[in-house]
């Protein structure tokens, strides 16, 4: 997984210890999580990593305890006394600890399923993100994730696409669309429009079917839309690495592009965490309550159009049994569960639910940026991170999909889609994995 097994300097250790101490100044929830966990073990029963094979077993409370122990040891004099006689659990921070952190906190996908069940309202993903931010500050972010961040800093997108290349991509997709539909469907870029559409840049490159489906939908619904070469990519790895400054900077691009293009709506495509960052963390929280545009999801927009019969969809074009995977960032972190189903039901005749679903859904096994990690050292005895995702973290999702008997899994998040696609391939299942708007694209009927 490209974890740098670099030698840590004392200065870096001190930096990490200072960061742990700083939890005393907030955020409040993190402080509470350090103080009140009773170690009841419920999270381990509801975590997809814990519920996989015993040899790749991880326990959320134990993972969070890595941070908690240091925090307790660095606390007030009284806590220190209690700690020194063992009445409070804790220990000092060593370089070996930090290496273990790097593996442990990148085996948690931050899906927040445990928070649904924790009787004390503890959300382990907050602890994971804090630990990751400390790892990031001393350069222990997994190589592939930090490379994507570096590309982001330089190009504004994780793929290193320059504005002229973005325009070329849009032109190319226009050609593809004409070929596929025989209709002159536009993929406008950098135009003044009503709607700015942003989605994961990685998905545009490696799974263009989704964007093409969206373009077909916009065309059929008569929505005046545009892409932006400046804000080509809505993915925000700052959420994964715990780098708040990066998260804000990446969000600023979306804001600036929306302002410059004078749009009414900033519409986020099929990307779970992009939608979460744009609506829950960034957006109005960063740029003030009176931002002159509305931030929404392609699903909310499409569901509205479908309700008003603004597009014609022929669900017989997608006759196979389709199931829907609720990405954690939609279901648990932004509450987007019904609109995607409305869209899916309108364009696929045979829709099946997974069990459990919505806010209780199991994680795909690669949330929190894990989907981009493949090779290298792996985690906890696995020879590669890919194998770890396939045999450990993805196990619950595989079982769930098998149970539905569906032939197509619609995963409206590039992260989940990559993971589930690889899962089906690795375990030799005859199940196609794609996006919701790929199905919309197939079902769409153009008038006249």
């Amino acid at each position: 997984m490209g974890l740098q097994s670099k030698m840590l300097q004392q200065a870096e250790l001190d930096k990490a210890i200072e960061a742990v101490k700083a939890i005393r100044n907030g955020p409040m929830v993190l402080q509470l999580y350090m103080d009140i966990c009773t170690k009841c073990g419920t999270c381990a029963r509801q975590c997809h990593v814990s519920q996989s094979d015993p040899d790749c077993y991880a326990n959320p409370a134990m993972r969070s305890d890595r941070l908690r122990r240091i925090y307790n040891a660095e606390r007030s004099v009284l806590k220190k006394v209690l700690w020194s006689v063992g009445l409070v659990n804790g220990n000092g921070l060593t370089a070996r600890d930090l290496q273990a952190w790097a593996k442990d906190f990148y085996s948690c996908s931050g899906c927040r399923r445990c928070a649904k069940f924790c009787p004390l309202g503890i959300d382990n993903s907050v602890i994971t993100r804090k630990a990751r931010s400390i790892l990031h500050s001393i350069g222990l972010t997994p190589g592939k994730i930090s490379t994507i961040q570096q590309f982001d800093d330089r190009f504004g997108n994780g793929e290193g696409i320059s504005p002229p290349t973005a325009v070329e991509i849009a032109d190319f997709l226009e050609g593809e669309l004409v070929e596929q539909y025989g209709v002159a469907i536009k993929v406008p870029i950098d135009r003044k429009a009503d709607v700015l559409f942003v989605t994961s840049g990685g998905e545009i490159l490696s799974y263009p079917e989704t964007l093409m489906g969206c373009a077909a939908f916009f065309h059929a619904a008569g929505i005046d839309w545009t892409l932006s070469s400046y804000a080509f990519d809505a993915a925000n790895f700052g959420l994964f690495t715990g780098d708040d400054a990066h998260m804000k900077e990446k969000n600023r691009r979306l804001h600036e592009a929306s302002m410059n293009l004078g749009v009414e709506k900033l519409v986020i495509g099929e990307c779970g965490h992009a939608y979460r960052v744009a609506t829950q963390i960034g957006g109005a929280n960063y740029w003030g309550k009176d931002i002159p545009y509305q931030i929404t999801s392609i699903f909310v927009l499409a569901a509205e159009v479908i309700r008003k019969r603004g597009v014609k969809l022929d669900s017989s074009q997608n006759p196979m049994a389709v199931t829907y995977h609720d990405p954690c960032n939609y279901a648990r972190s932004t509450g987007l569960t019904e609109e995607p189903r409305e869209v899916l039901r309108a364009c696929a005749g045979n829709f099946l639910e997974m069990t459990p679903n919505r806010d209780y859904n199991w994680c795909c096994g690669a949330g929190g940026g894990l989907a981009v990690l493949d090779g290298g050292e792996g985690v906890h005895g696995m020879d590669s991170f890919h194998k770890y995702r396939m045999t450990c973290t993805g196990k619950k999702k595989l079982e769930q999909i098998d149970q539905t008997g569906a032939a197509y899994v619609a995963a409206p998040c590039f992260n989940c889609k990559r993971q589930i696609g690889q899962l089906m391939e690795y375990h030799r299942r005859e199940v196609a994995v794609g996006s919701v708007f790929e199905l919309v694209g197939k079902a769409i009927v153009f008038r006249g």
């Binding site: 955020p27 999580y33 966990c37 419920t42 409370a61 309202g121 509450g335 569960t337």
Partner: protein, 234 residues
């Protein structure tokens, strides 16, 4: 005699001081950091619904009912009967004789009813606490996340419960001297110290437990309202 004086007179002052100072410090730390919002959907629509949900979850432990059924039964019984026992104990330091009289109970009868309910609660509490400890020791997944702190907490609770039960069941225990002593102590009017071995043991461990609360995971009792309001804030 010195031991009895220490446990009944000096130690309560220390206990109150430590508990109050510890709790104020902890709450001040939490409040200083400012309320956070990390919504976990579906979230309640109004503040009223949010508090209703937090109240219901705190009273029923509903999430555990879904996520960990056996623990739910054990821990819910534990907390419920702990709460009952605490209510019962307030009878010892408040003058309820007048109230009972007005309700038409004789003092002796009210005492016997209290003893029956309190005794049952004490036994259920014992069983539930033993269950919690056994579970911690027997389940590999819970054992691996347990530290000394977890064992000290449950051991203290067990010590308090066992000494309390022994006090009640070993021989007839007249609560009248206790009823006189503690309200007296609050008003700095020290009367005769009640003599009972089990009472002294019970009081000692109970006070250690109270002092331990603000500095250990037992602080989850007020803490849970903070964490849940961060998750459900609309």
């Amino acid at each position: 005699m010195y031991v009895a004086k220490f446990i009944c007179i000096l130690m309560p002052c220390v206990t109150v001081a430590v508990f109050v100072a510890g709790m104020v410090g902890r709450l001040r730390n939490w409040n200083r950091a400012g309320a956070a919002r990390i919504p976990l959907f579906p979230t309640p629509a109004t503040p009223w619904q949010m508090w209703k949900r937090i109240l219901v979850e705190s009273l029923t432990f509903g999430q555990l009912c879904d996520g960990n059924r056996s623990l739910w039964i054990g821990t819910w019984a534990f907390h419920l009967f702990l709460f009952m026992v605490l209510i019962g104990h307030t009878m010892l330091i408040t003058d309820l004789n007048t109230l009972w009289k007005n309700l038409g109970f004789e003092y002796g009868r009210a005492d016997r009813i209290g003893a029956a309910i309190g005794g049952t609660a004490g036994l259920v509490l014992l069983v539930a606490a033993i269950y919690l400890l056994t579970r911690r020791l027997s389940s590999a997944r819970v054992r691996e996340i347990s530290s000394l702190e977890d064992y000290v907490s449950i051991a203290l609770i067990l010590a308090v419960v066992i000494s309390g039960d022994l006090m009640r069941f070993s021989s007839y225990f007249d609560t009248a001297p206790v009823r006189e002593f503690f309200p007296g102590l609050v008003g700095l009017q020290i009367t005769a110290i009640p003599h009972n071995r089990f009472l002294l043991i019970h009081l000692f461990f109970a006070q250690v437990l109270i002092m331990y609360v603000p500095f250990s995971k037992l602080v989850h009792i007020p803490g849970v309202f903070y964490t849940k309001s961060a998750l459900y804030r609309c």
